[in-house]
């Protein structure tokens, strides 16, 4: 019997199971113990594990991140939760200058096993300061790990892995992915860093989707199939360390790469993936590349502009079409009903 859970419940289950097995796991952040319980991801944990292990905090992102580091140094495994990734800007000093560097600058005498859960917002007027996908900042800095699971199965496995990991892990969620449902085994399992997953095979183009954009890539694939373009869709899952081999292998086959990020492109994850693939395949295989992401602007809340701000299945399909055919073809598929709601449900 397949066990179907939502992304939210998968996170809750992962946390619950790790807390049950390891008394050093603690969960905190603004509102983790309030009636909304971080979209339900922390529901019931305070009751089960008590207010010392699960607690709401003051609005003090910098100090609470610093405190998480201190807890980790003392042998705990803190999970610090932020309902928007944008708020991490208040904690960059602790994340970049302390968490990322402690193991190295203390010559390996210490390590910092902490998880920073943070959510990318989208739509309903989230606007400028509640919508950013800033994962490339954390990919840039040695000493941090970054993961952005796109489905409930990975949400659980990556969180378990992140909690067990002895380094600071930035765990990137997306508010829209929270609604996803999918197969999630009951037992504990980890999704190890450095292994991307080929979700759909295809010979014509390699589509890499990050966070919520993976879903759009899967939808784009359906549009492309109707015109006989077959996309191979890859979910990198872990962004740092990044499994470039799987992507390179695919591009070696298809000769075409389109990376779609849930963030800006300049100095973003898409630039990195493109560059690594080129570095690996130059002189060996001719490839064409394309990257997509947020428009180079601040996120506008009004729907008329927000629609243009994000890549979507149709604009991705359109760009891939150009990549395959060459030139600018101005092909844009008609909106298809079923695809709006499409969810990738596994099994893996």
């Amino acid at each position: 019997m397949e066990r179907i859970l939502s992304y939210v419940d998968a996170i809750r289950e992962a946390t619950d199971q790790q807390m049950a097995e390891d008394p050093s796991v603690v969960v905190f952040g603004l509102d983790v113990d309030d009636p909304k319980a971080i979209q339900g991801t922390t529901r019931g944990l305070a009751e089960k594990y008590g207010p010392e292990r699960v607690f709401g905090t003051p609005l003090s992102e910098e100090a609470m991140t610093g405190a998480a580091i201190g807890m980790a140094l003392a042998g705990l495994r803190p999970i610090h939760i932020h309902i928007r990734m944008d708020f991490l800007m208040l904690a960059m000093n602790q994340l970049v200058n302390v968490a990322a560097k402690s193991r190295y600058m203390y010559g390996g005498q210490v390590h910092v096993p902490m998880v920073v859960r943070c959510m990318i917002g989208k739509s309903w007027g989230q606007g400028a300061q509640h919508s950013q996908g800033l994962h490339s900042f954390f990919m840039h800095v040695p000493g941090l790990k970054v993961v952005a699971p796109t489905n409930p199965y990975d949400a659980k496995g990556c969180l378990i892995q992140a909690i067990r990991d002895n380094d600071p892990v930035i765990y990137v969620e997306h508010r829209i992915l929270h609604f996803q449902k999918g197969i999630v085994p009951e037992e504990r399992y980890g999704i190890p860093p450095g292994r991307a997953r080929v979700l759909e095979e295809g010979r014509d183009v390699t589509l890499v989707g990050i966070s919520h954009m993976l879903t759009e890539c899967l939808r784009a694939r359906c549009y492309l199939e109707t015109i006989n373009v077959h996309a191979e869709v890859i979910d990198p899952i872990w962004l740092s360390p990044l499994d470039i081999e799987t992507i390179v292998k695919s591009v070696k086959k298809t000769g075409r790469l389109c990376v779609v990020d849930n963030g800006w492109t300049t100095c973003g994850a898409s630039a990195e993936i493109v560059t690594r693939v080129i570095e690996r395949l130059q002189g060996e295989r001719e490839v064409v590349v394309h990257r997509m992401g947020y428009a180079p602007a601040t996120c506008p809340p009004t729907p008329s502009l927000e629609d243009l701000y994000y890549p979507n299945a149709r604009t991705i399909a359109s760009a891939v079409y150009d990549l395959v055919k060459g030139g600018r073809n101005h092909w844009l598929p008609e909106e298809r009903e079923g695809l709006q709601e499409m969810e990738f449900r596994g099994p893996f």
């Binding site: 309030d34 009636p35 003051p58 208040l90 606007g127």
Partner: protein, 317 residues
């Protein structure tokens, strides 16, 4: 004693804000406002009491809970509603939304969705005013939640050091979302904390618009006369609605209706209504209703921004 005319001003402003937000709550379920609205219903007295002590060239900075002080300071209602609807004629051309209302012409200098962030902006603005030898003052509005953030204390320290013409207004409604101040601070001692910076601080504990106005006016006069630096008011008040959205939330259990009751009973809109003549009241209400109706029609009719706006205003060139 204040004059009838002033009561009428206050009532007009209070009533207008209350009714605008009630209308927003009414429209909200239609999904025409695709914006996370943080209503000030119950808290209007702070915005009105403070802003009625200011001149047009004084400047306020605030938070995502922005409707009340935006309107109280003279912000354009049509542009505000258009902004909530995401229309091109909105005060930020639809690029700000409910959480980033601005009306520079009326001294509403902006709002932020990240708690605490406009406090240092307000301090910097006050520094500029002093340097420019102006006698305007700055008001920084923020919630009790912002007093958890380090930047608040850094800002107090600098404002005190430079004796800047700024008034800090903490709208203490006891909660940051669903978390009570006493779950975030060992003691509820905001004024004590601020005084330790050498900044005079005063708590006004009953949402009394007349008291708020009178006390703020006194401080504004001092600041304009370059007598004294920053001042801090902790205005206790109460949010009647949920943190974000148009509904009540007493069923969630994080606070009780009992707790709310005294605040609802002390409603300043009702109080001011009773202080003015019935015919004045009727006239004011009719005018305000008419204005709101027109603004809603406008907001509904106006166009969304054109595609080329997506990449406009990112930088100046």
């Amino acid at each position: 004693m204040m004059s009838k005319a002033i009561y009428e001003r206050f009532y007009r402003s209070l009533y207008r804000i209350r009714r605008v937000e009630e209308e927003i709550a009414r429209i909200y379920p239609s999904d025409k406002i695709k914006s996370p609205v943080h209503l000030s219903i119950g808290q209007e007295a702070v915005s009105v009491g403070v802003c009625e002590a200011l001149r047009p060239d004084d400047v306020v900075f605030g938070t995502y809970r922005s409707h009340a002080y935006y309107l109280a300071k003279g912000g354009d209602l049509k542009k505000m509603l258009a902004e909530l609807y995401g229309k091109a004629t909105g005060c930020a051309k639809g690029k700000g939304g409910s959480m980033h209302l601005i009306d520079a012409a009326h001294g509403v200098m902006g709002a932020s969705a990240v708690v605490g962030t406009t406090i240092p902006n307000a301090v910097g603005y006050a520094y500029a005013l002093r340097l420019q030898r102006k006698d305007s003052v700055v008001v920084s509005f923020f919630g009790d939640g912002a007093t958890d953030e380090g930047v608040f204390y850094e800002s107090l320290n600098f404002a005190a050091l430079k004796q800047l013409p700024i008034i800090f207004i903490c709208e203490n409604n006891f909660y940051a979302i669903h978390t009570h101040l006493l779950s975030r601070h060992k003691d509820a001692n905001l004024c004590g904390r601020v005084r330790a910076y050498g900044i005079p601080a005063e708590q006004i504990d009953n949402n009394d618009i007349l008291k708020i106005n009178e006390r703020v006016k006194g401080v504004v006069d001092l600041l304009r006369a370059k007598q004294g630096g920053p001042f801090f008011f902790e205005c206790l008040t109460y949010r009647w609605k949920e943190h974000v959205g148009p509904n009540d939330d007493f069923h969630l259990g994080y606070r009780s209706y009992e707790e709310a009751r005294t605040w609802v009973e002390g409603d300043q809109v009702r109080r001011l209504a009773a202080l003015i003549a019935p015919q004045s009241r009727e006239r004011i209400e009719t005018q305000v209703e008419e204005e709101i109706r027109a603004a809603i029609v406008c907001a509904e009719d106006e166009p969304f921004p054109e595609a080329q706006e997506l990449l406009t205003d990112v930088t100046g060139d």
